[in-house]
């Protein structure tokens, strides 16, 4: 009878096992997942455009217009709907039906009297305290804060993921080359990293905004990505230096695996865990930067909803606390969640902590 040794868990399974033990990190992960869902389904949560409707014999999905205005079917424009669906649908085609979002509120405009049965018009000026119709209140122009926050989630998550995606690609490639090749390549790339570290991203973004004809959120993400990859590159470089002479790498080389194969198939997989940590922290930092820029009025151009822009709205009048508290809490929680995840990852993937857990 042979005794089969229990299969040892893989590295990621082990890491996940240890990550699960950290309650806070787990909650944070759940929170980020929830935010992702909110971002993805934002037009179905709060909006004034039907998710799906049947009008004059065809099916339409006008709510997609929240993702890209061009996806909103032009027929509603030509039929002079003027953005108000409920009454116009019934009036122009009595046969029509529509499924509306959970909450009839728009992130771009004020909901006015009589648009939606039993819902009063949104209050304006400083009178928009949170109420049943406006969960988080309204801003001065009468635009619902909750709807703006739901749609602003898209901006926040997008900024984090896209800018860090760019940073990760640049950082990993630069770091991998520097660490793997060593010598003058390392020397050169390390100096490049040091130079880039000196560039203040915020100032660069402000300069860019002044120059560009139409600055968008994508420009900001590109600049953030192009300036925040240095930490990732340094860590990758360190990991590559550590691993390039490991036995499994020598073995791989011995059987004739190419350079790229060695670097990205063999070394990178083993170096990934520590690199994930600065990426997670970077996402948190990018979200903070976007909010800070929007707060200063240099963020995504209006009317794009963004948490920081809401804070900016509330800046001049502290009596409208709901413009500060809700977005402030959202920013705080999201940044906290990413930091907790990063910390959790760090500890779950650090082999030195293995014994203790």
């Amino acid at each position: 009878m042979t005794l089969k040794p229990p299969a040892s868990r893989g590295f990621w399974a082990e890491a996940w096992r240890r990550y699960r033990k950290r309650k806070l990190a787990l909650v944070a992960l759940g929170y980020v997942a929830l935010m992702g869902l909110v971002a993805l389904f934002s037009p179905a949560i709060a909006g004034t455009k039907p998710i799906v409707c049947k009008y004059k014999g065809s099916l339409y999905f006008p709510a997609l217009g929240y993702f890209n205005p061009r996806w909103e079917n032009p027929i509603f424009r030509t039929d002079r709907f003027r953005g108000v669906y409920p009454a116009n649908l019934k009036q122009k085609d009595p046969e029509s039906w529509a499924i509306f979002p959970l909450l009839y509120q728009d992130p771009y405009r004020r909901v006015r009297e009589g648009e939606w049965p039993n819902q009063p018009e949104n209050p304006t000026r400083d009178e928009g305290q949170p109420s049943r119709a406006n969960l988080f209140g309204t801003n001065r122009a009468g635009v619902d804060v909750f709807a703006q926050m739901v749609h602003g989630t898209r901006t926040a998550l997008l900024v984090g993921f896209v800018s860090m995606g760019i940073a990760a690609v640049i950082g990993i490639i630069v770091g991998a080359c520097a660490g793997y090749f060593g010598g003058w390549v390392d020397m050169l790339l390390s100096r490049v990293i040091e130079v880039v570290m000196c560039i203040p991203a915020l100032v660069l973004i402000l300069a860019l905004i002044a120059i560009l004809e139409r600055p968008t959120i994508w420009h900001m993400m590109a600049v953030l990505g192009a300036t925040s990859w240095t930490g990732i590159a340094r860590l990758t470089r360190g990991e590559f230096i550590r691993l390039r002479n490991a036995d499994f790498v020598t073995a791989a080389r011995a059987i004739g695996v190419g350079r790229a194969g060695v670097m990205f198939r063999h070394i990178f997989r083993n170096a990934l865990a520590p690199v994930l940590v600065p990426i997670t922290f970077g996402i948190a930092a990018a979200i903070l930067t976007e909010s800070a820029l929007s707060f200063l009025g240099f963020g995504a151009p209006p009317p794009n909803p963004s948490w920081g822009a809401l804070l900016n709205d509330g800046r001049t009048n502290q009596q409208m606390w709901w413009l500060i508290v809700f977005p402030g809490v959202a920013i705080f929680l999201t940044v906290l969640a990413y930091n907790l995840i990063g910390e959790g990852l760090q500890e779950a993937t650090d082999p030195r902590l293995k014994q203790s857990s």
């Binding site: 061009r70 032009p74 002079r80 709907f81 953005g83 000026r125 151009p301 209006p302 009317p303």
Partner: protein, 663 residues
């Protein structure tokens, strides 16, 4: 005894209140533009000034002045019949006016009132506009007043002034001959002038200066300083293009002796009087050095003068800490001459300007007593100045102001194809939700603008065109009629222009202020619902100004303050003028401006300018949004302020009527 009040140097000009802070380089001359809201107090550098070419040609003083050989004084006296023009002590004038306006309540009662209704506002204004007694009894001459500037000054040479902040400071420190009262009637200040006569044919103005005027370095101020300043302004090497507008309408300025000055005009126009007014610099300080440094601020000597300027006004600059504060002190030689008091003593010993760029910061400073007057925003007026934290130390006043905000269209077909058609511009005017703008975004405090003149002004037409209202059906019909239809079915209107399908998509540039962005956003919402894509691009004041000046925009949201004479607005609406950023052109309007300039009778002028008003409103070169009002908070220790269509300070007597009683 007359009183020395500061005279606004160049006083005419419209203010561009565009962007947050800026007022534009004044159109006729700098300085005059006044813009009361916090935003309008700042300024920015004049874009044009920097672009003066530096060539190797030698400096020639007055090379731009027309070639003209003035006759001798005797020849002139022989052929000209003089008529007296007003030489006025504006404080005395205001004192007379105040006799006709009895206070509705006592000062003590007024200070207890909360300004929550038009009646309360009237009571407060009537009581607190009380002037100091003529003999100065009860005036605290040792008082210091702390004020706010929304932006630091860049230069102290009055000829190089280009911003509202500089105008504010120079108004207090500079010597001037002419001024105007709160109804914007032109006058010569009796502080500076013995007599002012205009020839019957309106071709000459003769001024006799007083002989007890001194610069802050003790040298006398003479007619030669005025002539010299004119020649400096008219020198091509001196980079002050905007300052030349108006002054270049003069044929010559001639000093016949130390006190007698004659201004020669090119044409007998009603607007000649506004050309007389330009900043004066001390000849003895600049005569020798100007050839080496025509910028007036760069060379070593000039830089020293920038820091410690030789001034001719009631106050002089004592300290200037860049970005923080500017302190002015009362100048004894301004009201004393040879040991005798010859003019009223200015009421404050010291004026402290703190540079506070943010509106909320200045409100906090006002509430805590760190500054003693401040403009208030509409929202601040309505929501943040109603509690005891404000009324403990302050009170507030409001009044109409002849300032309008608009969205200007770029009508140059080469730059932007959308707005060349009048029907399109009218359609856009129908697409603005005026009610919501006025009642919700402007807190019900600003009325919808009826066009380029304020309804209270004398030139406003008796039969104004009906105002545009919010009517999207009309807007869509007009756009269809103009050929902007959605031909490719993408939800956005388009039109074939030169074989190319152009979608109706444009960008509005606007100052980075939440209230203005909100108004643009309201407009955008309506436009989007009728198939026009509109982007909003908020930007810094300086960038906005530059873009407008270079005509690099499709639409801009900004404001114009009032000039002293309706003729000044021709700079904005006449074909090819320097402030005509949108390239508007209507031959009939051009003709009427020319006619209005020649007319001397005010009633007839009012009719002409009324016609201009209606023509422009019909053409809609801009979408007229709202008229701003003045809102000011004043510390309870201050008295003597009143509001003009240009706010509480920028007229005669303006600031010099404000005083603090002995506690």
């Amino acid at each position: 005894m007359t009183s020395l009040r500061f005279v606004f140097l160049p006083l005419c000009g419209l203010a561009l209140l565009g962007c947050g802070a800026p007022t534009a380089p004044p159109q006729e001359k700098p300085a005059a533009k006044e813009a009361p809201q916090a935003d309008a107090r700042g300024s920015n550098e004049e874009p044009a000034a920097a672009s003066e070419p530096k060539s190797a040609e030698p400096f020639v003083l007055g090379d731009l002045a027309p070639k003209f050989d003035p006759p001798t004084l005797a020849e002139l006296e022989a052929k000209v019949k003089w008529v007296d023009s007003p030489v006025v002590d504006t404080l005395a004038l205001l004192r007379k006016q105040k006799e006709k306006e009895p206070a509705k309540v006592s000062v003590e009662e007024a200070l207890k009132l909360e300004n929550d209704s038009p009646e309360a506002n009237e009571k407060i204004l009537s009581a607190l506009s009380v002037l100091a007694p003529e003999d100065g009894q009860g005036v605290n001459y040792d008082a210091t007043i702390s004020r706010a500037l929304s932006m630091d000054i860049g230069k102290t040479n009055p000829l190089r002034s280009s911003s509202i902040s500089e105008a504010e400071i120079l108004g207090l420190t500079s010597f001037g001959v002419f001024s105007f009262d709160w109804e914007m009637n032109p006058l010569a200040s009796s502080d500076s002038v013995v007599s002012w006569q205009t020839s019957e044919d309106h071709m000459y103005d003769k001024v006799v200066l007083r002989d007890d005027l001194t610069w802050s370095d003790g040298k006398p101020i003479t007619a030669h300083d005025v002539e010299f300043s004119y020649r400096v302004i008219m020198s091509s090497k001196v980079p002050i293009e905007a300052m030349r507008t108006g002054t270049d309408e003069l044929l010559a300025v001639k000093a016949y002796d130390d006190h007698t000055l004659v201004y020669f005009h090119k044409n007998p126009f009603a607007t000649n009087v506004w050309n007389l007014n330009f900043a004066v610099i001390p000849k003895h300080k600049y005569e020798q050095t100007i050839a080496a440094d025509p910028t007036l601020v760069e060379s070593e000597e000039h830089a020293a003068l920038e820091l410690k300027p030789v001034t001719g006004g009631a106050y002089e600059i004592a300290r200037w800490r860049r970005g923080q504060e500017i302190v002015l002190t009362r100048r004894e030689s301004a009201y004393m001459h040879n040991g005798k008091q010859v003019r009223d003593k200015p009421y404050f010993k010291e004026i402290r300007f703190r540079i506070l760029e943010d509106e909320s910061t200045s409100l906090l400073a006002l509430k805590s007593g760190q500054i003693e007057e401040s403009v208030l925003g509409a929202e601040q007026w309505q929501t943040q100045t109603t509690g005891t934290d404000f009324y403990n130390q302050n009170t507030k006043i409001m009044g109409p102001e002849w300032t309008y905000f608009h969205i200007g269209w770029n009508m140059d077909p080469k730059a932007c194809p959308f707005f060349t058609d009048k029907r399109v511009r009218q359609a856009l005017a129908y697409a603005m939700n005026y009610d919501e703008m006025v009642n919700d975004l402007c807190f019900g405090l600003f009325p919808q603008s009826q066009g380029i003149w304020h309804p209270d002004s004398w030139m406003f037409p008796k039969n104004p065109a009906p105002m545009f209202t919010y009517d999207l059906d009309k807007a869509e019909d007009l756009l269809d009629e103009a050929g902007w239809v959605d031909s490719d079915g993408d939800g956005v209107r388009d039109k074939e222009i030169n074989g190319e399908v152009v979608p109706f998509e444009f960008t509005i540039i606007v100052g980075n202020k939440p209230d203005r962005v909100a108004i643009c956003n309201l407009f955008r919402e309506s436009l989007e619902s009728i198939g026009i894509n509109c982007q909003i691009s908020p930007m810094e004041a300086a960038v906005l100004m530059q873009r407008m000046f270079n005509k690099e925009f499709q639409a801009n949201m900004a404001g114009w303050g009032t000039g002293t004479d309706p003729d000044l607005s021709k700079n904005v609406y006449r074909t090819g003028e320097s402030r005509n950023y949108g390239s508007y052109s209507n031959p009939e309007v051009d003709r009427l401006y020319a006619e209005g300039q020649k007319e001397f009778d005010r009633a007839k002028r009012a009719e002409i300018y009324g016609q201009i008003h209606n023509l422009i409103y019909e053409d809609q070169p801009s979408l007229y949004l709202y008229n701003r009002s003045s809102f000011y908070g004043f510390n309870k220790k201050l008295r003597g302020y009143r509001l003009s269509p240009r706010g509480p300070f920028h007229f005669g007597p303006g600031f010099s009527a404000i005083w603090a009683p002995v506690q």
